[in-house]
């Protein structure tokens, strides 16, 4: 995985406290798999992992993040023309789905990699989209999905936009309506656990995971989550190297571990 020094082509503010940086990176754009991430240099000891949100016809790639601490605050200050030092593309993204319906489920800042997935598979597969957030001002990219001709179902905890409540309701309805299909999801870990439980073992379910990282390249063993090895025995999975997209079958949830 190479290291790039990428100019910021455009800075967008899709919601308060959320910034999307579009980076000029034609070589990278051509090789990205949705779900892969960048390990971005920020001042301090560690880089910050951010998923790619989109690619554009100009050969740009997007990083969309919420400002939660010093690293993302520094990134949010970048302007067009500034440069970012990124290691990318890192990790394994979503696999090519089988023919048939695909459900994309995104929560909060888990939405961006699913938009990248919609860009990739929206024309080849019947794609449904369910997006959730705390409130309307934390729900990103709904218009981007609409621009692809998709009709995202929206949920918010406070009901400020879409249905009030969590994504689980609409996900359960979709699963009941579709006999088969496959699910791709990214969001807070409790949301991923809920989605995995609803989908069960019957259909493919791919989850883009988060864990605190050191190196980002598989060397330091910081970013592990509990999984089941080939023989069913517990093993640690490195999110940066084996993930961040993992089959729900490989993961052990707190209740199973």
């Amino acid at each position: 995985m190479p290291q790039f020094d990428l100019p910021v082509a455009e800075r967008r503010v899709p919601q308060p406290e959320h910034v999307e940086l579009l980076l000029e990176a034609p070589a990278l754009a051509a090789t990205l798999t949705p779900g892969q991430f960048a390990h971005v240099w920020t001042p301090g000891t560690l880089r910050r992992p951010i998923s790619f949100s989109r690619t554009t016809p100009e050969g740009w790639v997007g990083l969309l993040f919420r400002v939660v601490g010093p690293g993302t605050a520094w990134l949010a200050e970048r302007r067009a023309g500034d440069r970012l030092d990124v290691l990318a593309p890192l990790g394994h993204g979503f696999p090519d789905p089988e023919p048939g319906p695909v459900l994309l489920v995104g929560g909060g800042v888990g939405i961006p990699p699913l938009f990248a997935a919609a860009q990739r598979w929206g024309k080849t597969h019947p794609v449904s989209v369910i997006l959730g957030a705390r409130s309307a001002d934390a729900l990103v990219m709904a218009d981007d999905f609409r621009a692809l001709g998709l009709h995202p179902i929206l949920t918010t905890d406070d009901g400020s936009v879409g249905e009030r409540g969590r994504v689980s309701g609409p996900v359960a309805q979709w699963l009941a309506r579709q006999g088969g299909g496959q699910v791709m999801a990214c969001g807070p870990t409790p949301m991923l656990a809920a989605v995995a439980q609803l989908v069960g073992g019957g259909r493919p379910c791919w989850l883009a995971y988060e864990q605190r990282m050191g190196c980002g390249v598989g060397a330091c063993l910081a970013c592990v989550v509990p999984g089941a090895g080939a023989d069913g025995r517990p093993e640690w999975i490195r999110v940066c190297h084996d993930g961040p997209v993992l089959s729900s079958q490989r993961l052990l949830w707190p209740q199973d571990a």
Binding site: W41, L46, R212, C215, C220, L221, A222, H241
Partner: protein, 307 residues
């Protein structure tokens, strides 16, 4: 400019090695770091059998530093020899294998197994990791135990044995003398300092292992002082470790008495840090009036700076 150096019998093309636990087994950084350009690579600590390590989260950033509680997860010596060593051997790297154990016998067992393998240049005994409750930690505090484990390993291998000391002890010089007397060929200093952070949102310790080891620039002055003290207490060479980010930092360790250095945490932020240091080192040595790495070693020791 002559940047070659030696740690006892181990000759190094330059004094910059990758620190154990921060560089995996080498191939993880393929495309970013050319391992044969480094002075050497110290691999992740290896035990006789696989160790599972601690629960996540395993890292937490702190001011100018990093707390980790990996807990010495490792694949065990057989898997290391079969799957990881061949890459480093094929790259022509100078390889230092960091070894860990719960008992003296376990350390000796790993050393004995590795003695038969080509492509290993030295063993580094981690008797200092703060992330395990049993084993390593008591060796790191008790000069008698440290000397005994060093002697046991020396008896099990012909490879040079470096002993990596903990800063979490009140008698560093005593520890250094004990392992030197037991036959150690060199001393690596330092491992991480024990620390802790609280996750305010979750109202619990930030690390799954509760406490962790502090590394990065925050510990550099502690490491410089350790190298200064150890290099004057014993006659064997010292490998300096702790918070190194630049060629000037390397020179600081050399002048404090180190014969070589290791770079760890800096690689996470900048995978090219070691290569950049190696490239800048001749200019920095020249700037401060040295014509070789060898000339800088111990240059700040008492008696040498009064001129």
């Amino acid at each position: 400019m002559d940047v070659r150096t030696a740690v006892g019998a181990v000759e190094l093309a330059n004094p910059v090695l990758a620190a154990s636990g921060t560089f995996g087994f080498g191939p993880e950084y393929d495309g970013l770091v050319e391992v044969r350009r480094l002075g050497g690579v110290a691999v992740k600590g290896i035990a006789p059998e696989p160790w599972r390590g601690n629960a996540p989260p395993r890292v937490w950033e702190t001011p100018s530093g990093l707390l980790n509680s990996i807990g010495l997860q490792n694949p065990g010596v057989e898997a290391f020899v079969a799957e990881d060593l061949p890459y480093l051997r094929q790259q022509g790297a100078t390889v230092v294998v960091n070894i860990i154990g719960r008992t003296r016998e376990e350390y000796a067992a790993v050393a004995r197994r590795l003695d038969r393998e080509a492509g290993i240049h030295a063993l580094e005994l981690n008797i200092s990791c703060p992330n395990i409750k049993e084993g390593g930690i008591q060796f790191g505090h008790d000069p008698g135990a440290a000397g005994a484990v060093t002697a046991a390993v020396k008896g099990a291998t012909r490879l040079p044995v470096w002993v990596k000391l903990s800063p979490n002890t009140h008698d560093l010089a005593g520890m250094a003398r004990a392992v030197a007397d037991a036959g150690a060929d060199a001393i690596s200093a330092i491992n991480t300092l024990v620390g802790m952070a609280i996750n305010l949102d979750e109202r619990r310790p930030a690390l799954g292992g509760v406490t962790g080891g502090l590394s990065g620039p925050a510990i550099r002055p502690v490491a410089v002082r350790a190298v200064w003290e150890v290099s004057q207490a014993v006659d064997i060479p010292v490998v300096g470790i702790g918070g190194i980010q630049t060629a000037a930092d390397v020179l600081e360790f050399l002048m404090a008495g180190a014969s070589a250095v290791m770079v760890g945490t800096a690689t996470f932020s900048q995978p090219g840090a070691m290569a950049a240091i190696i490239e800048a080192l001749p200019g920095v040595l020249a700037h401060y009036g040295f014509d070789s790495v060898a000339a800088a070693i111990g240059a700040a020791h008492p008696g040498r700076w009064t001129t």
